[in-house]
Amino acid sequence: MKKILLVLCGLVWMITSAHAAETPSTAFVHQLADEIITNVLTSKDTQAQKTERFEKYFLKALDTQTIGKFVLGRFWRTASPEERNAFINAFTDMALKSWADKFNLYTGQQITFLSEQPAEGKNQVYVVSQIQNDPNPVQVLWRVQEKNGTYQIVDIIIEGVSMVLSYRNEYTSFLQNHTLTELTDKLQKQADSFVVSSGKK
């Protein structure tokens, strides 16, 4: 009887400690989400301060270089370094505004980290999470890349919809009939005239 109890205790301990000790990739996303929720989404500071903070988190956490290169597909190879830079800048600006707007819909839902799955490519994993939403939670996958001990996000997949794949489809379709400079200009113009959605508050 004692033995059984001991084994049971051991099992419970293993389960709880495995839950507490997250892998580095999950810990990275978990901390990022917590910080954004506390310092931006539920913060009582001015909108300007919150926008600035979100920008800082976003630029640090997202590998915009890798993403920017991927979303241009074959058009990246033929682009000059200047064109690439200009595109990355406009793209980052646009993505930043779009994601700030999406995060703004947050009204205090709980985010739970469930597991980690292998991803194609070197040092990449999917951190699987779900955001509370009754009756069905929303599944969010964070594709995380580790490079020399630092972790960065390369894709976010919400209910099967991949951010980078969608951008890629959008841009390569546009580039069939337009130049990269036209794409960059259009992105920048759109980022500059961005109007936020109404929000759920």
Binding site: T66, K69, F70, G73, R74, W76, R77, M94, K97, S98, D101, K102, L105, A119, E120, G121, K122, Q124, D134, P135, N136, V154, D155, I157, E159, G160, V161, S162, L165, S166, N169, E170, Y171, T172, S173, F174, Q176, L183, K186, L187, Q190, F194, V195, S197, S198, G199, K200
Partner: protein, 269 residues
């Protein structure tokens, strides 16, 4: 007339068919490479689909969004949640039938339990007591039933006015779905207007849920048509084919760029 209430649905169906048939087609390319891309893109009705998408974005900007602002302003969140729960509850009989048709007895039992619990304890569906009791809320539709019955080919992409993105199979599924919804059979046939109230409530609720996303797409996408199409397809692909199939579409390699075609990475079975 006994089936008077079905006339609404019949006219909707005719409208759908008219849209499909009159929609001008993109001419098929002759070049083999272009033809392959064309077929994988699976959007021969693009000119019509673009017009329908423009119309839907127009509706969102000038009707749904202003309406939703007022809706959110005058009704506090708990009331809106109640309306949303009510609209969800009205869908349960339809989900129940589809679960049965798919042979998914667990989901049909959960759905039945959900409908029964929320209709009684949840006062006509205003409160979602079922979720509190951890009763699942499966999602089912007749397009999915057709998929489970073997219609695995989605057919071309199709945008429906007001309703939004779909494909040929799911549109047919929706058309048939109008006729197999037990709730419509249960509604007194003489009271045609009940059907309109029902779709009205569901429209208000759907608009409330979709309007922000549509606005975000219109503001940030350089081609909202393509963005909405790829969002819809990736999401529907996960819903129909499951986690693993969805993973195939987004689990690409960032490194070997060469074997990545410039078409949507999603394959028909």
């Amino acid at each position: 007339m006994q089936f008077k209430s079905f006339d609404i649905r019949k006219s909707l169906l005719f409208l759908l068919m008219a849209c499909v048939l009159t929609g001008c087609m993109t001419p098929k390319p002759t070049d083999p490479e272009a033809l392959k891309a064309y077929e994988e893109l699976n959007d021969p009705l693009e000119p019509y689909n673009r017009a329908a998408t423009d119309f839907n974005f127009f509706l969102n900007t000038y009707l749904f969004r202003p309406f939703d602002k007022i809706y959110r302003f005058i009704l506090p969140e708990p009331v809106r949640t109640g309306i949303s729960n009510f609209a969800d509850n009205l869908k349960q009989p339809y989900i129940f039938v589809n679960a049965l048709l798919q042979g998914d007895f667990d989901d049909s039992a959960q759905t039945f339990g959900r409908f029964f619990t929320n209709t009684t304890l949840g006062i006509g569906g205003l409160f979602d007591v079922a979720t509190y009791f951890e009763i699942k809320a499966p999602k089912k539709d007749f397009g999915q039933t057709l998929y489970k019955w073997g219609v695995t080919n989605d057919g071309p992409y199709l945008v429906l006015p007001v309703i939004g993105p779909s494909n040929a199979r799911d549109t047919i599924g929706m058309g048939i779905g109008f006729f197999i919804d037990p709730l419509d059979w249960a509604l007194p046939k003489a009271k045609d207007h009940l059907l309109w109230y029902r779709y009205g409530i569901q429209l208000v609720d759907s608009a409330d849920k979709a309007t922000d996303l549509l606005w975000n797409i219109e503001q940030t996408s350089i081609d909202p048509y393509v963005t909405l199409r790829t969002y819809y397809r990736q999401n529907r692909n996960k819903f129909l084919r499951g986690e693993e199939a969805a993973k195939e579409s987004y689990n690409f390699s960032f490194d070997d760029d060469d074997d990545f075609e410039d078409v949507e990475e999603y394959e028909l079975e």
